[in-house]
């Protein structure tokens, strides 16, 4: 393809790297399997196995599988709706947010939920947790001291995020089949220790838990991932391959991993997966699971965080990744070295920030599928930007919908799944308000901003 043709088809300039502010060009798009592997890389993490272990402590095998299936089906629908947005626009979640929230809205909301919460907050929590796991596995080694392990683990996780999408994909190719096998080994250790399948099926928890509680846990565990699917699906060659990849990984592999961990817990009665695997005889596999599981997830935290910060920090994306990573590793190491320190207050703060995300997802889905449909924008042309295009500074209906959705869904409603409540409320409030106000001739946007060739 000649340079002239390239310029004609792709009028942007990738000034900040990894197409963080501009649509991914055609020649950089990836196959279905690449997208699938990267999603699987995010999924293949210890947090999912912990989620499964929690189910194992609350339910029988059949109930745990049922809960995993229902929770995963809900997540499949959410991600199945958000992934095509990235597939069609070719841009990240935070750039897409310009449409329902305005350019200032995309900077504010993106930075809160992805930048501060994921890129710095959860990154440091996961690096610290990595230190805890490594220390549990090797309690006497100096290199496995919580602070030391959190430091080298955090730095490892930073490397692939610094490379960008290629780095995430590379690691996922290496780690995902391995991780899937480890989940299978965990299940087999559980079956062997539970006295075979028949014996395992007869085991029941001391205090049974309602099914709804488990579904809430499964959905809540990964709803953030379901909302920011566009960060990866923007690289997909076909508009819907991101959605397909997401649905398959959630419905088949998340259920498989949750069930594997649940079986291990039901059989052993242990409280942590890595410890149970080590005690069950998985050897170095348990250690590699800890490394690869945290690594493949946490590099995505940094990656998504840097993408969101790039909406207002106009510098090379890797500079932001490096900055976020150093802050995150610093926090993890500081907590790790301070004996007896806990990250509970910090995690509560991050969970609080995360409460906004479902409503943001609901508004994004409503704007892309319903409001643009009402405005008669052709499906394949929605969220398609061009240099010189004008976007609002603020879409106040989007802001209001997120505020109301988060407040009602996260605090007022005492039933249902809090994250799902927030998402549905954001979707309904935005759809009703934007269409009614538009029909009444009330302007829902304030100010104007012109997008330049750099996507800024």
């Amino acid at each position: 393809m000649s340079e002239e043709v390239k310029k004609e088809e792709w009028p942007w300039e990738d000034a900040y790297g990894d197409y963080s502010m501009v649509p991914v060009p055609r020649h950089e798009k990836r196959s279905f399997s690449s997208i699938f592997y990267v999603y699987m890389g995010v999924l293949a993490c210890i947090a999912v196995l912990w989620g499964g272990s929690t189910l194992g402590l609350q339910y029988t095998v059949k109930q745990a599988i049922l809960v995993a299936l229902i929770g995963s089906a809900i997540l499949a629908v959410i991600g199945g709706l958000t992934a095509p947005i990235g597939g069609i626009s070719g841009t990240s979640t935070y750039v897409n947010m310009r449409f329902p929230f305005g350019s200032i809205g995309s900077q504010v909301f993106g930075s809160i939920v992805a930048g501060i919460a994921c890129g710095i907050g959860w990154f440091s929590v996961q690096a610290w947790l990595f230190g805890i796991i490594v220390h549990t596995l090797f309690p006497n080694a100096v290199w496995a001291n919580v602070g030391v392990a959190a430091t080298w683990g955090g730095l490892l996780m930073m490397i692939t995020a610094l490379i960008g999408f290629r780095g995430l994909a590379w690691l996922s190719y290496l780690a995902v089949p391995f991780f899937m096998l480890i989940a299978g080994v965990g299940a087999m250790i559980g079956v062997a220790q539970g006295g075979g399948f028949a014996g395992l099926m007869s085991l029941a928890p001391a205090e049974p838990t309602p099914i709804g509680v488990g579904i809430t846990q499964v959905v809540g565990m990964y709803i953030a991932g379901g909302i920011i699917t566009a960060d990866i699906s923007r690289y997909a060659r076909k508009a819907f391959s991101g959605a397909l990849a997401w649905i398959i990984q959630i419905i088949i592999f998340q259920v498989y991993m949750l069930s594997g961990a649940a079986i291990l817990m039901i059989a052993t009665g242990a409280s942590d997966v890595a410890g149970a695997l080590l005690a069950g005889g998985a050897g170095i596999g348990a250690f590699l699971m800890a490394i690869l599981g945290q690594w493949t997830t946490n590099d995505n935290n940094l990656y998504n965080g840097a993408l969101s910060f790039n909406t207002w920090l106009h510098t090379k994306k890797w500079h932001i990744t490096l900055g976020e990573g150093i802050i995150g590793v610093g926090i993890a190491a500081w907590v790790g070295f301070a004996a007896g320190a806990s990250m509970d207050p910090f995690m509560k703060f991050l969970t609080l920030l995360g409460k906004i995300l479902p409503s943001i997802g609901g508004v994004l889905i409503a704007d892309f599928y319903l409001y643009r449909w009402y405005k008669k924008v052709p499906f394949k042309k929605r969220y398609k930007g061009t240099p010189g295009m004008k976007v609002a500074l603020v879409n106040w209906v989007g802001w209001l919908s997120v505020g109301l959705g988060t407040w009602i869904g996260g605090w007022l409603l005492k039933w249902g799944i809090a994250a799902l409540n927030g998402l549905i409320l954001g979707l309904v409030i935005y759809t009703v308000l934007s269409i009614v106000l538009d029909a009444a001739g009330v302007k829902i946007t304030v100010g104007e901003h012109t997008i330049n060739r750099k996507g800024v």
């Binding site: 990836r30 196959s31 399997s33 690449s34 592997y37 290629r166 994909a169 590379w170 190719y173 290496l174 780690a175 995902v176 089949p177 391995f178 096998l181 480890i182 299978g184 080994v185 087999m188 250790i189 079956v191 062997a192 069950g280 005889g281 998985a282 050897g283 170095i284 596999g285 590699l288």
Partner: protein
């Protein structure tokens, strides 16, 4: 030997080695089905990935595209090879016959080295993408 011929030859070697892991799994099954199934799954997936590579590259003339597809197949062998190396000598796999564990471990080492070398060759010789 041209690149496609090289990939075909090494793929046949990988298929034979993966088949050996699969046979070990089947042999072990009667003794301990829980470890037997893991050997069998590792061998089967590596085998399947490589067998499917043949029709996928059969009609391709573009060396780079052949390389891209070979890279994809070899990543699976590599990842599961590392998993085999990490797991097959672990206590859970050595409950009964230790010989099977050692043989499976050695096969995993060879599969890992061969698949890593194939990826290296594909990336350097025909400029295939490391992630496709």
């Amino acid at each position: 030997m041209n690149f496609k011929g090289y990939i075909r030859t090494t793929s046949i070697i990988i298929i034979v080695l993966a088949l050996a892991v699969l046979v070990l799994g089947i042999a072990k099954w009667s003794e301990n089905p829980y470890t037997g199934i893991i050997y069998a799954v590792v061998g089967f997936i590596q085998l399947l990935g490589m067998v499917l590579l043949f029709p996928r590259i059969a009609k391709l003339d573009d060396q780079k595209e052949v390389g891209n597809r070979a890279v994809q197949a070899n990543w699976i062998v590599l990842s599961l090879g590392i998993a085999g190396m990490a797991l097959f000598l672990a206590p859970f796999f050595r409950l009964e016959s230790v010989t099977v564990s050692y043989v499976a471990f050695i096969l995993s080492v060879v599969l890992t080295v061969l698949s890593a070398f194939n990826i290296f060759i594909a990336v350097n010789r025909v400029k295939a993408r490391m992630v496709v």
